[in-house]
Symmetry: C2
Subunit: 358 residues, 2 copies
């Protein structure tokens, strides 16, 4: 016989007596145990039991009203109830137990903007292990960059489909050539928003992968076109005979403050032995190559990097687009968040986002 | 022996005498013929001949200075010279002839923001046929929606790689079920930013593809979750028992004015026999199915639709991202531009963008 619950609107929790502890908590991971056999359920847990027909009804302790699934859901008990319920039900149907990321559901809940603690498959709230912290948002909820946490983000779209993203730290590093190999003072001209380097040593392109040869010229003395980022980096190191500040100034003219942020990330990647090339065709700032020995034997680029200021606010739809595209071309989407730290390597936070099927 | 040209800065044109007409114009499609054997060249044409070594030098008519390729290019003769030259050279290397889209290069030049008339392969300026109108922008140049034209858009990225997009009109149409099949006044609840329809006829989902069944319920009486767009459309037609204006009002609360634009496009697509479902996973507004007979035998969705106001300004990088993603999932990217025409079908302009390899 199905039990009934009692909804206390004051504490926003549903109490169930009878043999609830054994039936719902111990064997199936719902709620937290109270004295005797009573348990307390979060609204999503209670709704799920109602939905499954495991709870018969929930009685509103204040009004005495008897609520079935439809009536209980229509009250939207708690902020974001709808999307939380959908994700809760989805993960349970995939064989996971999960609890609200709060005491007393879990003893040591993960901090930050987290909705649920998801337990490893086959484990429950009493087993002392958490597989990951889960945050849930609707597709219209903006996500400030400062709220990113290692864990999983579930986005519920307007038609109630769910996408899961695994969020992690990603520190790019590589073995590509160092500045030691750069030439000295090659002749170069600054044109509109690019730079032409006139007949530099072949290795500038072929080994260290700067620029792009102008088509149709003899290959043993290429004329290289460089982006303003590449040119600013090369000018700073004396490899081309342009004033570094002049190149940066042009960059700011055509791109605004975005240019300095991108140059910070470009420089940091180069110093980490990673070659950044434009990610334009993928809608990103850079695609990156960790281990360039020569352009002739260039491997697959591994990362797509998008540069944002540290106070950027993500829209889930843009995240979906970026991550989906990166996945489709077998690259990992990385966000470089640039703050105003004085030391360059401190100024950048690197985050990766990847699609996840729980 | 290579000829020399004469650059008149006043009219921005390079004149070449000798046997130039036969050598450069008649046999290879450069410039336009003047009296005798003289021809006039646009700066990109002259630069290309210099670059190839076909012209020896260009003499500045005012100063008498003798310019080689580097010096001529460094002057950036004309707006957007750099990107125009790159695309001109690329298309010539692919075997196409092209001329500035202006008289007297071509007798009846295409209107609007067009840079070049590209001739069919094997044809030239004298043959009276244009394969397409070509517009060229750098990746940092914004493109107002009002400037879209049928033709080809070439975008030159910061590292001087070129992407070609074919722009065309695309009027979606299909054979999916009509409103006649809709039920009458199904019970529904409005929750936060979605609507639950309680046990509607199975066909509402299965035949006309509204909503998404709540997982884990019996399938012969599904509980459907609908987006606010679907719900606004269904409420307007009396298929669910919610006030249409209440649903639209909620839509505006959570999405702002974007909601009405999207509803206009949603409604127009439905009335054209096309089923729009959310395009969230592709970062778009809709993916569309032209011929839905049943959800069980659902084909591949054909279009990704992004909705913008008619005065929207595109950034080439976003275009690249959208078109690349659509291509990767074998769909066509379509932009629905919504103006404020009073008649709905007049209010929407439909444009498709697809990658092109010339």
């Amino acid at each position: 016989m199905a039990l009934e619950g009692r909804f206390e609107t004051d504490d926003g929790v549903v109490y169930v007596g009878g043999d609830a502890r054994q039936r719902y908590h111990d064997s199936r991971g719902y709620g937290y145990p109270l004295e005797g056999n009573e348990i307390a359920l979060a609204p999503v847990e209670a709704a799920h039991l109602l939905y499954r027909g495991d709870l018969e009804a929930i009685v509103d302790a204040a009004s005495g009203e008897r609520l079935r699934f439809r009536e209980f859901v229509a009250r939207e008990p708690g902020e974001g109830f709808g999307v939380r319920f959908l994700v809760y039900a989805d993960l349970r149907s995939r064989g996971f137990y999960l609890s609200p990321a709060a005491e007393p559901w879990v003893p040591d809940p993960p901090g930050g903007e987290v909705d649920f603690a998801v337990f490893p498959r086959g484990k429950g709230p009493g087993d002392g292990k958490i597989a990951y912290a889960l945050r849930i948002v609707g597709e219209r909820t903006d996500i400030p960059a400062a709220e990113l946490r290692e864990g999983v983000l579930a986005v519920v779209d307007e038609e109630s489909e769910i996408t899961y993203f695994e969020i992690g730290r990603r520190n790019p590093s590589g073995t590509s050539g160092s500045d030691a190999a750069l030439p000295d003072g090659c002749e170069a001209d600054l044109l509109a928003d690019r730079v032409v380097v006139w007949e530099p040593p072949l290795d500038l392109y072929e080994r260290t992968f700067y620029g792009q040869p102008l088509e149709g010229r003899e290959y043993d003395e290429p004329t290289l076109q460089c982006s303003l980022l590449e040119a600013a980096y090369l000018a700073e190191r004396g490899a081309i005979d342009l004033e570094p500040e002049m190149v940066r100034e042009r960059g700011r003219e055509v791109e605004g403050e975005r240019f300095d942020r991108r140059l910070t990330v470009y420089t940091e990647l180069r110093e980490r032995g990673v070659v950044p090339k434009t990610g334009y065709k993928f809608g990103a700032d850079f695609r990156t190559y960790a281990d360039v020995e020569s352009v002739e034997n260039l491997g697959h680029s591994e990362l797509l990097v998008r540069v944002h200021p540290a106070d950027y606010v993500f829209e889930p739809r843009d995240l979906a687009l970026d991550v989906r595209l990166a996945h489709g071309v077998r690259k990992t989407m990385v966000f470089a968040l640039v703050g105003d730290g004085t030391d360059r390597s401190d100024a950048i936070e690197w985050w990766s986002l990847e699609r996840l099927t729980p």
